[in-house]
Amino acid sequence: MKTILRLVIFTIFAYATAINCQSKMVKIKGKAYIPLYGRDSMKVSINDFFMDVYPVTNKEFLAFVKKYPKWQKSNAIKLFVDESYLRDWKSDTLLNSNQKLNSPITNISWFAAKSYCECLGKRLPTVDEWEYVAMADEKMADARIQKNYNAFILSWYEKPKSFNQTIGSTFKNYWNVYDLHGLVWEWTSDFNSVLISGESRKDVDTDNNLFCGSAAINATDLMNYAAFMRYAIRGSLKAKYTMKNLGFRCVKDDKTN
């Protein structure tokens, strides 16, 4: 009896905190689309889902590690994180003085990001889902042909040292989602499903789709160049890796349909 009561109380408590920590999400209306540079050049179907409006922040992740000490810097299992995990933090539960609460969390591994989302009843987006939302600009759901939009993305990719900005500092896109471009790279659940060996020229042989992607590059097709770079960074990662420019956000399936 006592155990059951405890369990109930715990569940309620856990539920309540989960609600509290729940960051704002917006609904993304799914559709079939051709990824810029995907596993095949056929259309991919996206179901309706909810996506976090902002990347997960330092503040949110701080709350998470306080609640789940196993993800604190000194406790995290080395199989799941590399040596740079939460590297800039002052201690297990303290940010460094130059880190802002509302900056995106970075230096986290895929395992940590996945666990965070799951603890909130969410999950990491797939590459296709992420790319689907990210192809929107302020006004259009698919802005891949817009020159300015592409130039903006490329200019961010080119410049080093742009971390430590705060969430919401870039544009709000068609789906009311912020910061997909121009703030940090973001983890996806299947980041390593497109195999880029690092020898991009050889990839041309091993994966015909990559060939299509690279062959499509021409002066009017800047977006492919940008996508190429996103896939390159994903290809260079392992699940335990952490990076100063790599954060994440969560998504949730739409259970209503």
Binding site: S84, S197, E199, S200, S214, A219, M229, N245
Partner: protein
């Protein structure tokens, strides 16, 4: 006697045979570089351009540890123009690596945590998949180690080969690795490291501010900057490379590209020796050597006289308009036997030394009676002249080209003053004029037509397209010609 003869022949033949044998064993030694024994470990000395590490001399082959860091950082392209370079070791071109044949190079590539992109390295000196690229693909904040044995001596390019490859190279990710032969290269007095590269910026050459990479221009191979060592002026003024009279200078010259082939030349010097394409073949007495993108050459020359010698890409507009210009300053004693400098200054008279007067070109022609052709004939002949001389700009029906070339069709400017019009044909016209209410500001060159042709074509124009039907006589043309 006969016996002696055959003995001689025998000796000769055996000599020849042993010669052949010697050659064979030499070739075998070259083929066996994979088995060169390594003894000991050392850290490689890496240098930024234009400097190179110390020669290998006669050291044995070793395990050579190379640690290279990738840095994405903002730098100066030319005064007032900034550019974000991606670099091997913080410089463009990247650090110079010096090895000898048979070395086992253990290469660690570290990608700085502040960087945004994954990178790798393809060294042309590597025998193996991707030249190392496959094994060195590294995310920011990580490093990768791989090793390779240097099998072939020569000067090789290395570069980043991460997608999009062209962009990584265009942003400065290239450098040189030298593999010296057994015993090292012959000793020289000065050695330098120079690498050419082409850059593509959003703004035109010279446009101020931080300039992003322009992929469209890169694909069109329309370079805004073509430079030595990553920026305009990296080798000029205080940054010039130096030598003393009498010294032998060796330049390790590479070309990172991504697109353009270099026609490398030093103004006022002849290369005594060139290792063509960085390989074994040596050419002597070379004026300009071609260095393909992704290739290199070793050039050597003795500097006999003092002065500033200009290094250029002899595709010369790149040198004087896009930055491909460097300097070698040589100090020491002049040698008048080799180069005199200015010996004498004088006045040049093509006709000889006597006092000359300028020829009078405005001889007043005697207004001779010229047989005037009938009007119809003049118009017909004039049309011929028009179609060969005037048509390109003023167009078939005299309509001209809006904003560029004024019309002759119902032209108020033309009809207002016949002599002015003749003058324009004879002398050309530059500057703004207003024709039929529109302003034009371009150049018409002086036409080389005979007086009769001018009269014909003017008559044709005046008798076409609603103009005032003036019949321009040859005498009027002469009059205009002589009036000033």
């Amino acid at each position: 006697m006969n016996l002696l003869k055959s003995l001689w022949i025998l000796i000769l033949v055996s000599l020849l045979l042993t010669n052949c044998k010697n050659k064979e064993s030499n070739e075998l030694a070259i083929l066996d570089t994979a088995n060169i024994y390594i003894k000991g470990t050392m850290d490689a000395e890496l240098t930024s351009p234009p400097f190179v590490p110390a020669p290998v001399g006669n050291r044995t082959a070793k395990k050579l540890l190379v640690n290279m860091e990738i840095l994405e950082k903002e730098g100066t392209m030319t005064d007032g123009v900034q550019y974000v370079y991606w670099t091997f070791g913080g410089s463009v071109p990247g650090s110079f690596i010096r090895t000898r044949v048979g070395d086992l190079v253990e290469f660690t590539l570290s990608n700085h945590p502040d960087n945004k992109l994954p990178h790798n390295i393809d060294l042309h000196a590597v025998t193996g998949s991707g030249g190392g690229a496959t094994s060195s693909f590294v995310a920011p904040g990580h490093n990768k180690t791989f090793s390779f044995k240097t099998l072939n001596p020569g000067l090789y390019v290395y570069h980043c080969a991460t997608a999009p490859v062209g962009m990584h190279i265009a942003n400065g990710m290239y450098g040189l690795i030298l593999v010296e032969p057994e015993g090292g290269l012959p000793k020289v007095d000065k050695e330098y490291y120079i690498m050419q590269g082409d850059f593509y910026t959003k703004g035109e050459n010279g446009e101020k501010g931080l300039q992003p990479f322009d992929m469209t221009k890169a694909i069109k191979e329309d370079a805004d900057y073509v430079v030595f060592n990553g920026k305009v002026g990296a080798l000029t003024g205080d940054n010039a490379i130096t030598a003393n009279v009498g010294e032998t200078v060796r330049l390790f010259v590479g070309n990172g590209g991504p697109n353009l082939t270099s026609s490398f030349h030093v103004i006022g010097e002849i290369f005594d020796k060139v290792n063509i394409e960085g390989g074994d073949m040596i050419n002597t007495n070379v004026q300009t050597t071609s260095i393909p993108s992704g290739g290199a050459a070793i050039v050597e020359f003795k500097v006999e006289v003092p002065g500033t010698f200009i290094l250029v890409d002899h595709a010369i507009f790149r040198a004087f308009n896009k930055g491909a210009l460097g300097m070698l300053k040589v100090i020491g004693k002049e040698n008048k036997n080799i180069y005199s400098g200015v010996k004498q200054e004088g006045i040049y008279h093509p006709e000889g030394g006597t006092i000359q007067t300028m020829p009078v070109d405005k001889k007043v022609e005697v207004a001779a009676l010229v047989q005037e052709k009938p009007l119809a004939q003049k118009i017909a002949d004039g049309k011929q002249v028009y179609m060969t001389t005037c048509f390109a700009c003023h167009q078939e029906k005299g309509q001209g080209i809006p904003n560029a070339f004024p019309p002759l069709y119902k032209s108020d400017y033309l009809n207002a003053d016949v002599k002015r019009a003749i003058g324009i044909v004879l002398n050309g016209k530059t500057g703004e004029i207003t024709v039929n209410g529109n302003k034009y500001n371009s150049v018409m060159t002086k036409q080389t037509l005979t007086d009769v042709e001018v009269a014909d074509v003017m008559t044709y124009v005046y008798n076409s397209w609603g103009n005032n039907k003036t019949n321009v006589s040859v005498n009027t043309v002469k009059e205009v010609k002589n009036s000033h």
